[in-house]
Amino acid sequence: MPFIPHTDDDVREMLAAIGAPSIEALFDEIPRELRTKALAGVPEGLSEIEIGRLMSERARQDGRPLSFIGAGAYEHHIPSAVWAIVTRGEIYSAYTPYQAEASQGTLQAIYEYQTMMASLTGMQVSNATLYDGGSALAEAALMAVRAHRKSKSLRFLVPANVHPHYRKVAVATAGNQDLRFDSVPYERGTGRVDIAALAKHAGEDITALVIQQPNFFGMLEDVDALTDWAHAQGAFVIAVVNPTSLALLKPPGEWGARGADIVVGEGQPLGVPLSSGGPYFGFMTTRMEHVRQMPGRIVGRTVDLDGREGFALTLQAREQHIRRGKATSNICTNQGLLMTAATIYLSIMGPEGLERVAAQSAARTRELVAALTAVKGVRRCFEGPHFHEAVIALDRPVAGVLRELANRGILGGFDLSTHYPELGAALLVCATEMRTAADIERYAGTLTEALRAARAA
């Protein structure tokens, strides 16, 4: 029996010890009429040989196209060492470090992670992950309500250039507690928050302003001005940031005069493969004064009976297993494995490596934009500083062009027409350090052909 070690003798002896005539008898408290019949809809079991064959075939179907999609998930280099270590059984097959003494490896890694994330974002404390970037934003909003005692409105200002999926997750999640997320428009020329439109909210009770940096279009906001404006209104600032970008960009803790209040983001760029969207991890950092309102696990350094340094989960009174209905969140299982991957990634890359990744990605994207906008019928959408993404406009509907490119093994970017119909035929493109000059040339060449063919047709 796959995965089950019992021999017939074992079963006999065990049933004898129990005093039951059969395994079947152990289910005698389940009402007979409820018992399941054959699970006809489940296929027969496969051996590892067979599943291996099937999965290799499925993988082959998906292929390995050349991708220029970003939009919240980024193809960065992952050192081989990262996954060689996190798939070690001691990491991969352990659970939440409830027994601290038997989990010092996991606990120390989390403490190291907290240190790195706090520093990267310029804040004081980090939790030990949330599910992903989108759910982290939702949790940040709920936390802001708890932490910001003076604001009673449950009202959040969320610029339209915050990742559209994140906005939806925030609504789907925090909307249940009547939090409201009001949209703030972006400037058509720069893709940045429209400060004039924002200014109209002056004087209102706003729980927090959300600022994504770089924003969904890859453009850089004037974070100092936005932060100071929000604080002047008595609103919190929730920063949504790309961790890679923080090697180059001012950390949220230094935005404006007082810095952001809560920082969240998607941790995927830090050593986590794209993998169709997950598992990734959401990170969250804040100032020490808000730590008791923070959701998720937190690890602290302490000492043992002999005075030796050690690590343990702490501030558990915030959590559901203690505080139940009054907990800061319902989160229990988080994204530990990915947190460990990110910690190893950051250790291997170090400050210099992360800086180079960020700078290279930015440089490649500039090359990409130059190459694409040199193609007839393509122009750039927004002016201004950006990080490693950019929006380009085509002279015909994006969907067909993307299909054409995909047929030639190129994933040309993210079609913005669903979320931003006002932009017309707009495409969000991205290049990281993984894209070479040849890749970019191939894209530009193929796009030229595709557009020419479309024009001819």
Partner: protein, 491 residues
């Protein structure tokens, strides 16, 4: 393990050191980024060689207990063997490289796996529709309660905002209800472990949105009057939520859908053996009955002929929406898919069978050895509770002391102090992948510990003695918060 401290990674760091083979070529940061938006000082990331990083994290890993190294009977967590094949095939280069927003034309292989996974989950749970997007059990609970609310609202039944939970419920249940904007009503559990049906009857009413139940419950017993419970809640206009954390106990034996549940989540990282990863990732796929189908969270994978495609807002306009930026923990879902295909039809029932056999054997042997079962008259499900109330009274030895001493014997401790209503409780879940000899080893250790509790209680109070650290000071951890390393903080 030696009592040798593994330094913090930061203590290995030296300015100018680094795994430079991992770095792309140096280029200047783009000139178009204004100075005011730039970072001024470097973040506190370690500067270490690749070997130092590898050695450090390899050594750290060795400080952990894990399924791959130890019997890990942590109740409610189903710490069963995670087959290596699941990881191997989920990490095929094409799968790890696939962008979540990649076109369906380059995702038919992945989408086929997801669609089949949805279908298999429907079948084993007896539900009509499944969404794979929730990223852990609690996230699935959230989706479920949100769907219950959406259902009532869609019917104009706006007053229904109470969620009933038995006092034995996992903390995520009440926390979820609150997070969903509901009011929690706890109802008691009887001495035999079943829900107090009279109290339930008294609790239901026009405000009842629904009830959240685990079955078997976190007390390790099957809720026998489940049909009656379902009728009472349904009659009152509420819906039933099934917390699938304990599905392992009844896999292939009885289906939540057949018990009358309207919505469920399944902890794929428990029943379907995806890795717990030192705290995650999990996956909390949700299943619903007919009437909740329109509310499922998106995206879902649909099938048209032999093509698969994403279903989104246009397809499910009443959906509670999006709970993750992309598609939940896709890589976890792939692992669960591989596991379910390997188990297959006949393997599902075996999981329930042997998980239950192991739990009942362990329970029988421990009670024969003089330990007290919390529910001595009941069958164990896949787990059961031992209470150390007597040891606490007689020898001042707590469940925690026993747990810590078990570590010295090379066993991970069971879950302690949960569920809260059983004093000094140890919730023990052996899982079906452990051998009789492993269980016997655990029993031997428990017997020795009981003897030690009588002969030398201080031995237990001081435990563990053989681990990298001795018992840690939790109070100090919470009082003198040290949550991040600072260069000055260590000599």
């Amino acid at each position: 393990m030696p009592h040798r401290r593994e330094k913090l990674i930061f203590e290995y760091s030296r300015t100018g050191r680094g795994a430079s083979g991992q770095w792309p070529a140096k280029v200047a940061p783009p000139a178009d980024i204004p100075a005011g938006l730039r970072r001024r000082s470097r973040p506190l990331l370690p500067e270490v060689s690749e070997l130092e990083a590898v050695r450090h994290y390899t050594r750290l890993s060795q400080l952990n207990f894990s399924i791959d190294t130890h019997f890990y009977p942590l109740g409610s967590c189903t710490m069963k063997y995670n087959p290596k094949a699941c990881n191997q095939y989920a990490m095929l280069p094409e799968f790890t490289a696939r962008h979540p927003l990649g076109p369906e034309s380059h995702g038919q292989g992945f989408l086929a796996c997801m669609h089949e996974l949805q279908e298999m989950l429907k079948e084993v749970t007896g539900m009509r529709g499944v969404s794979l997007t929730p990223m852990a059990g609690a996230h699935g609970e959230f989706a479920g309660v949100a769907m219950i609310r959406a259902y009532h609202r869609a019917r104009g039944d706006l007053a229904r905002n109470e969620i009933i939970v038995p006092e034995a419920a996992h903390g995520t249940n009440p926390a979820t209800a609150t997070m969903c904007g509901c009011v929690v009503r706890e109802i008691p559990v009887l001495a035999d472990g079943d829900v107090d049906v009279e109290a339930l009857k008294a609790a239901v009413g026009p405000n009842t949105a629904g009830i959240m139940l685990t079955n078997p419950s976190t007390l390790g017993v099957f809720e026998r009057r489940i049909r009656e419970v379902a009728e009472i809640v349904h009659a009152a206009g509420g819906l039933l939520y099934y917390d699938g954390a304990n599905l392992n106990a009844i896999l292939g034996k009885v289906r939540p859908g057949d018990m009358g549940f309207d919505v469920i989540h399944v902890n794929l990282h428990k029943t379907f053996s995806t890795p717990h990863g030192g705290g995650g990732p999990g996956s909390g796929a949700v299943g619903v009955s007919e009437r909740l189908l329109p509310f499922l969270p998106i995206p879902i994978v649909g099938r048209e002929g032999d093509r698969y495609r994403w279903l989104g807002e246009q397809d499910l306009p009443q959906s509670i929406g999006r709970l993750s930026a992309f598609m939940g923990n896709a890589g976890v879902l792939l692992r669960a898919y591989v596991y379910m295909r390997m188990l297959g039809r006949e393997g599902m029932g075996r999981v329930g069978d042997y998980a239950t056999l192991n739990a009942n054997y362990l329970l029988a042997r421990l009670t024969q050895a003089g330990f007290d079962a919390a529910y001595p008259k009941r069958r164990a499900s896949h787990e059961f509770i031992i209470t150390a109330k007597r040891q606490a009274k007689d020898h001042n030895v707590t469940a925690m002391d026993i747990a810590k001493r078990l570590l010295d014997y090379g066993f991970h401790a069971p879950t302690t102090y949960f569920p809260l209503l059983v004093p000094e409780c140890l919730l023990i879940e052996p899982t079906e992948t452990e051998s009789k000899e492993a269980l016997d080893g655990f029993i031997d250790a428990m017997v020795k510990i009981r003897q030690e509790a009588e002969a030398d209680p201080q031995l237990l109070k001081g435990a563990p003695h053989t681990l990298p650290v001795r018992r840690l000071d939790d109070v100090r951890a919470a009082r003198q918060l040290d949550l991040a390393w600072r260069p000055e903080a260590t000599a």
